[in-house]
Amino acid sequence: MTTMVIKYVWEVPVRVAHWVNFLAIVILSVTGYYIGAPKTLGVDPSRFVMGWVRFIHFVAAYAFTVSVLSRIYWAFVGNSYSSWRAYVPWLTSEGRYRMLETFRYYTFMSRKVPHVTGHNALAGATYSLVYCLFLVQVATGFALYAEHAPASVMHKLTGWLFLLFSNQGMRLTHHLLMWLFVAFAIHHVYSAWLMDVKERGGVMSGIFGGYKSVPEKE
């Protein structure tokens, strides 16, 4: 049996960004769903239900945006496990081999657990896609947010998106991406749980404390 050593893998900014993203996505999904398909919750006209829901949505949106951008910044200054290189495994032949290896393991074609200290190759590639979708979600969100003020700075920054999306298409995209993130969250928690069991690397606690168990040879 392989001897395991404890290693500091996930630095503070990585963990903070992860949990801010988590909280923001939960809040944004719940409030966003209400904004898209509201129910009459205000018992009298003096209430401010939609007002508060939208306020919370916008505050969470700003927190999410800052978190996503900070994490992208950290991909260039953080340690090797959080580096952008971990998210583009398809660029190197070794990365492509590792992606295939992980895919074979996930689809029960191989019994070899692809133990890696940071993200496995398939996970890294998935996070690239998810972060691209995050950026689309942020951009479409701010474009919709700025729609009320055509002369504003925000509208000048995001208004060009209406050349890519129709007015309704923008709303549909923003809404459907939310569901994709729900699906991603299910996959993400399950995969982490699976690897925690099979890899025995403490990937679940790693995102809280930053430490993972890795085979001694690494």
């Binding site: 129709s166 007015n167 309704q168 549909l172 459907l176 569901w179 699906a183």
Partner: protein, 377 residues
């Protein structure tokens, strides 16, 4: 016509009093009292978002008989904007402002026909070059050399190039003339476009709406008569005084939106109580127009006041981009018409959960996965 009224800053108080209270103006000759005329001028300064102190200046400008020539062209249209303008309940100041303009050509209302009508237009082009105003109603087809709309043997594009290109300004009334409107809706079989796109070198001001609110046309004309220039516009060429505010922000149902009170189906409790029409697909949050304040038909009503959501008719390509009119979100392309984004989204989430649950069961039953891929002893 009325007496030539000359008024200026150099007038003595006596002359001013005489002008304002003694002489009969062209308006009085047409049966409009001085009081009603001044009320109209105040209303116009309000519509143009000017301080009320501008009312006398507007009155002064309108008192002068300048009779700028106006030509009204109709292309791919339903004459709905003409209709909106002519449907004023009684002869109003609005109508008379347009009387003050010399409408030398208007296909729906002019007496002349055939060659005589075309001769009238040719006369304006020759004698008033660079000075007349053109109002265009309807879109201009570009496909197949513009054969889909011809008047007097010439294509709409050909006429628009000549008439709009030589005008002082072009006022595109209605969504068709502004952005192509209904004829330009997908798949746009005639290649219909708005005036600005068809004649890029023309000076165009867009007054979209389906139909436009005639008050906004009157105010634009009054602005021109008063200041001798066109009003400031937004990036879509729409005057800011009429299209500078979002419907949602000036809507009388807005408090119900913020409170969280919605019409959930037609005729329900909320609908009877006048709750927000957001859930019924109202496009007020996406539309800029002064409907909530200016209203239609002599300020009688507007769609949202009548209990129907906004269709976004003053925005470009509204027939394509604002539909479905009665839902917040369009259907997902490629799925059945009753499949909403939420049903599909929830389906994706459930399918994902099911797939991973199955994977989890298999993984739990599988023994012997390890780093080397060999079974442990």
């Amino acid at each position: 016509m009325g007496k030539k009224r000359v008024g200026g800053k150099g007038d003595s108080t006596e002359q001013k009093i005489k002008r304002d209270f003694v002489e009969r103006s062209i308006w009085e000759e047409k049966g409009i009292s001085r009081r009603d005329f001044m009320k109209f001028c105040s209303a116009m300064s309000a519509a143009l978002a000017l301080p009320v102190t501008f009312a006398p200046r507007i009155a002064e400008a309108l008192d002068q008989v300048k009779r700028p020539t106006l030509v009204w062209l109709e292309f791919q249209d339903c004459a709905g904007n003409t209709e909106a303008l002519l449907r004023a309940s009684s002869p109003t100041v609005t109508e008379l402002v347009l009387d003050v303009l010399s409408i030398d050509y208007h296909e729906t209302i002019m007496a002349a026909a055939g060659h005589q009508a075309e001769a009238a237009l040719a006369k304006v082009l020759k004698e008033q070059k660079g000075k007349y105003i053109v109002v265009v109603e309807g879109s201009i087809p570009l496909k197949d050399n513009g054969v889909y709309c011809c008047i007097g043997g010439r294509s709409a594009l050909d006429i628009a190039r000549e008439v709009c290109g030589n005008a002082f300004a072009t006022i595109a009334v209605g969504s068709c003339a502004s952005f192509g409107g209904l004829p330009a809706a997908a798949p746009n079989p005639t290649g219909a476009v708005g005036v600005k796109e068809a004649v890029p070198n023309a000076r165009v001001i867009n007054l979209p709406g389906c139909p436009l609110n005639p008050d906004n046309l009157t105010a634009t004309v009054v602005h021109y008569l008063t200041f001798n220039k066109l009003p400031t516009t937004d990036s879509l060429g729409r005057p800011l005084f009429a299209y500078g505010k979002r419907i949602h922000d000036a809507c009388e149902r807005r408090p119900h939106f913020d409170a969280g009170q919605y019409v959930e189906s037609w005729g329900d409790h909320g609908h009877k109580k006048g709750f927000c029409l957001y859930k019924m697909g109202c496009k007020g949050p996406e539309t800029f127009h002064n409907c909530p304040t200016q209203r239609y038909n002599e300020k009688t009503s507007w769609p949202v006041a009548a209990g129907h959501g906004c269709a976004g008719c003053s925005e470009p390509q509204f027939w394509d981009t604002m539909t479905p009119f009665y839902k917040r979100l369009p259907n997902v392309p490629g799925f059945g018409i009753e499949s909403t984004a939420d049903k599909i989204g929830a389906g994706i989430a459930v399918a994902t959960a099911a797939a991973f649950a199955a994977h989890g069961v298999v993984s739990a039953l599988r023994k012997g996965d390890d780093q080397s891929g060999k079974k442990e002893d």
